[in-house]
Amino acid sequence: MIERWALVSGLKGDLDTYELIQKDLKKTPGNITLFVLGDMIGPEKNCNRLLHRLINPKSNDLQPWCIYGWWEEQILLESGYRGDQRAEALRISKGEEVVKSLTNAVDKSFLDWIAALQFGFVELDCGLIHGSSKDVGENLTLDTPPLTLLDRLTRLQVNRLFTARSKQQFHLELTEGIVNSEVEDLNGNRKKEQKVPQKAVIGIGAGKNYTLYDVGTDNTQFVQAGYKTEKRIKGFGRL
């Protein structure tokens, strides 16, 4: 049976969208593993019902495998889970009201569960993270310099990096790379030509826009929750 990953992020408390995605995935062929790459919470709406559902899936739900994202990092900072630091980046960029909205949107009883979430998963030769291997808040996009993308892949020692922070959906392959290195030290000179095998960075989208990844063929399918499955199956393009 085809093995597929469903990669979701940026739900921000939206249980309706999560249910729509679960419904979609039930109709999607293959053996599907569901990864939720952070930003399950946000300041816009109460997140408790979604968090409860993620922690306690319904019997017919696909089990979600969750990591923390930028908004989870902010609430952990603000709630004292990161030592003396507070959510200053959020406070400066969005203001005190948003900080309050965020802390009000999540019941304190969920904080320990959020704090126990991992930064990312490494599955096969793929890294699944929210931002980048450097920082949970880093945006990787089509415009990110390839050298930076390569570095973020190298840090996790993976060939595929799935990222959510930018909210964009893209599949960028680094097909070939070469650089000549010459080192001079007290032992003399040495030259080396370094090549890069094919690697890729995949933006998975956010909210209703999620990604299906076919592990066997390395193909991505960008999906919007609620669209008819038969349309999606025809090709690999944004619908």
Binding site: K134, L142, P145, P146, L147, T148, L150, D151, T154, R155, F170, H171, L172, E173, L174, T175, E176, G177, I178, V179, N180, S181, E182, V183, E184, D185, L186, K192, Q194, V196, A200, T220, Q221, F222, G235, F236, G237, R238
Partner: protein, 271 residues
């Protein structure tokens, strides 16, 4: 014009004096220091005061940061628990010895110094604790220089002096699953960049006992690694007299600083 770059002085006054003398003999007045003025060695205040007196621009090293802010590096910096214990002892000893004025000086050092196309840092542009080893992944090395918007990156921290040139690079990219569906491909040429590691004045880790530093000519772009002999016995005696771990003296005398090198020095400290 020639300029000298020194790093990792580690409270070794005889080594610092010998290197500064060597620089002076070459008629070089432009000196930049990449930090780690203290740690391991027996003369932290004396070394800081010498650098301050000579008004040498200096960036903050990991030891300089740690004695001010408390231990910051994780256990990855040490090859064994014993080495870690010795390191912590030296940290506490140094903290106790430093004057308030010298602690303030260390606390206020900048993370980096920029001069035209050159960037001077202790470890890497990312962190004072990151080791840019001579044979690290070439693309990752190039990324450190390029993302710091420099043409030449001067660093220390590894205690191994080297000059690395990264040239003739390119990366080909292809956008799959693009909108519109046409596949977009392009090849990006990478710029030539250099990383220059100044080695260490006070704690060499190149297998020998001589202090090292580098001389850079900003007209010809030539870089030379300099090795300088100093009175090791004097430093070793001071280490023993100060009550610091005798192995600190032993490894200086025998050039066995490899004993303190972490197994995976490329590991990026997450703290």
């Amino acid at each position: 014009m020639n300029q000298a770059v020194i790093s990792c002085l580690h409270a070794n006054l005889p080594a610092v004096e010998a290197v500064l003398k060597d620089i002076e003999l070459q008629g070089i007045t432009n000196i930049t220091c990449l930090g780690d003025l203290v740690g391991y060695g027996p003369q932290p205040n004396e070394v800081i005061e010498l650098i301050r007196d000579k008004e040498i621009p200096t960036c903050q090293g990991c030891w300089d940061e740690d004695v001010v802010d408390g231990l910051d590096a994780c256990d990855c910096s040490y090859p064994s628990q014993l080495a870690e214990k010795r390191g912590h002892f030296a940290h506490q000893w140094t903290t106790d010895k430093l004057t308030t004025e010298n602690k303030d000086y260390l606390a206020n050092l900048p993370y980096s110094i920029r001069k035209d196309k050159c960037l001077f840092v202790h470890g890497s542009p990312n962190s004072q604790h990151e080791y840019l080893l001579p044979d690290m992944d070439a693309f990752a090395a190039l990324e450190r220089v390029e993302n710091a918007r420099a043409e030449i990156l001067f660093c220390g921290h590894t205690h191994q002096p080297y000059i690395r040139e990264l040239a003739d690079g390119s990366i080909a990219v292809k956008i799959k699953n693009a909108v519109p569906k046409d596949t977009q491909e392009k090849e990006i040429q990478l710029p030539m960049r250099r990383i220059v590691n100044a080695g260490s004045v006070g704690e060499p880790r190149h297998g020998g006992t001589k202090a090292t530093y580098v001389v850079y000519n900003d007209v010809t772009n030539e870089v030379k690694i300099r090795e300088v002999e100093y009175d090791i016995e004097l430093t070793c005696k001071a280490i023993i007299d100060a009550g610091l771990p005798p192995i600190f003296a032993w490894r200086l005398k025998n050039g066995f600083e490899f004993a303190e090198q972490a197994e995976d020095a490329s590991h990026v400290c997450e703290r």
